[in-house]
Symmetry: C2
Subunit: 354 residues, 2 copies
Amino acid sequence: MTTMSNRYQSDSGRKRPTMKNVADLAGVGIKTVSRVVNDEPGVSEATRQRVVRATEQLQYQLDITAGSLKRSGRKTQSIGLLLPSVSNPFSGEIHRAMEDALAVRGIAVFAASLDDDPDREKKLISAFLGRRVDGLVLTTIAKSQAYMIPEHSRDLPLVFIDREPAGIEADAVVTDNELGAAKAAAHLIQHGHTRLAYLGDRTDIQTAGRRRTGFLDAVGRAGISTSGVAVRENLHDEETAFRAAHELLTSENPPTAIFSSQNLVTFGAMRALKALGLHHEVALIGFDDFTLADMMDPGITVIAQHPERIGKLAAERILARIDGDESPARTYVIPTELIQRGSGEIRPQADSGK
Amino acid sequence: MTTMSNRYQSDSGRKRPTMKNVADLAGVGIKTVSRVVNDEPGVSEATRQRVVRATEQLQYQLDITAGSLKRSGRKTQSIGLLLPSVSNPFSGEIHRAMEDALAVRGIAVFAASLDDDPDREKKLISAFLGRRVDGLVLTTIAKSQAYMIPEHSRDLPLVFIDREPAGIEADAVVTDNELGAAKAAAHLIQHGHTRLAYLGDRTDIQTAGRRRTGFLDAVGRAGISTSGVAVRENLHDEETAFRAAHELLTSENPPTAIFSSQNLVTFGAMRALKALGLHHEVALIGFDDFTLADMMDPGITVIAQHPERIGKLAAERILARIDGDESPARTYVIPTELIQRGSGEIRPQADSGK
DNA sequence: TCTGCGACTGACAACGTTGTCAGGTAACAT
DNA sequence: ATGTTACCTGACAACGTTGTCAGTCGCAGA
């Protein structure tokens, strides 16, 4: 019947079949198989049928890595995604949105966690470059991304998310941190607060700085002395945030409202308020929304970011760049949303001024 | 000085350099560059130095995809990870644990979301196979994974997580769903409850079935008629869970304790209890832990799973299989932990029998 | 001096695919 | 009958790397 050895006649074959095997079985040339598999024109219906049958019989799977070798302009159909941590819900949302936007183009995503570690950043980028990803979407930590210029100038599409790059010209998609924090300040002031506290993340993280600036500037614009704002920074987990909040709340002149610049810090502040029984007396607004915020007592008012919009836009930008968009680098700013749930609407207590 | 055109002399080069470029610049053969780059022995120190300098000067990056082409036994140093959704915190924890375990071996992870959609499952698996991943770690939805047998018999390492496979012999790492649910039942009964409710997920999800069985069996073992247990299933989101819980709680003979088989269902139940003002009267235990469970009022008692242990073990198994472990397929069961926080320790109210 | 050995080195084919290009055939117009 | 299409088709090189293998060289031992 056929000239094939029966090695590839059944599912029990040891090795993966190649185009050569399919071509032999179908009695055509390799290139014809390639055309059929890639849905290229120029193959008669009869031949196509025969090839399709052969691929099915052998359970043939095109090796995309081999194809991406030919013509180095060829793409690997994969991108690298560098996130603070894949286990962080905010990152997860971004990841998911990107996946959805990229899947329609058949692009797969390599995801990895940076853990705010510059060394790890370089290692991971290196690992992705070695796999010849078509583009890189990343949240950076290193002070400068200038070390990536060689790659970028080699036409490696780059999109920064959440934080803007320094020392390199590239697209970025970020949350409107200043305005978001300013909204929080305005909201608290509008509810009568004048003794405010700002609980911030590590000062070397760009977004933390922006939120701080946005908050303090808005306080100043409202005519309140910013020197009266209690600022505690470098809070990187619940524990340190709890301690800072606890300390502030039990001090001589405690704040009547707290703004926390990040989820873990918000959690720490919530715990401190609850521990002191002040959760219904001191106002709290957190930056970044979180699950069950509305189920808290009181519900936690937040400045919500839109990770799904960030992810979607980042995916669109990287695709555009991969497709050859050469327009100047641009930063896209995604607005925030103030969600009132109770904690941010608490008014200063009459007796708290003591 | 050198025979190289100055095309590759600086960072401004357009194309990525190849081993050939490095070899020319260093004045050695390609193979010698390969040896240096891969840290193989048999290169004199002097030569090595020259090659290293050349790679640095050209910012050379080894193309691992090209290498994996040679000798088809060669690995791509990447695996595919199929999760319910990368934005789901439980999945995120597993992903993270796997990443950490695989990174030390230089293996990158392609992650994708299944969304409980069998078609999507097949498409994604196909996409990963086309990229010649060294192994696949997945949470399945399809009733049977028999369709993967051809690939599996071609030595594609496979590890199932969270759910056991059907119709195929492969390793699996799962939570002890039966025992976990049984613990919940025993805990509630021990606190005096006899009118129990079980709120479950889609019945076609394997883990949901196991939790149901575990719960009901434990109830039976305690000598309580299982026919008295109110069972509501196919609850797949907060809204449906809320309605089911609300309905049960406002029925003729309401349960004094609820067991919810999954996070979203737990959230729905929590909302229903709060809406009816019963959160301090009706006991609740949820399967799977979640952030801020301890900050609820009351704190939510849960059967915690250990996603980080599942991920770590799955990574170890896939590595072992990649390294040639041919031992029989085995299912690894990860124990759960009952975490008491208040909601599960509420006793039946005296008047609730009314 | 010659032989043998060990250490080093590079030419070459091969991995599985696709771009290029030339050849071959049928149909149709001249 | 001949030329002109349009359409199919496959041989072949190339992509960037590594395994194989056949060298070359310096030096110790005979």
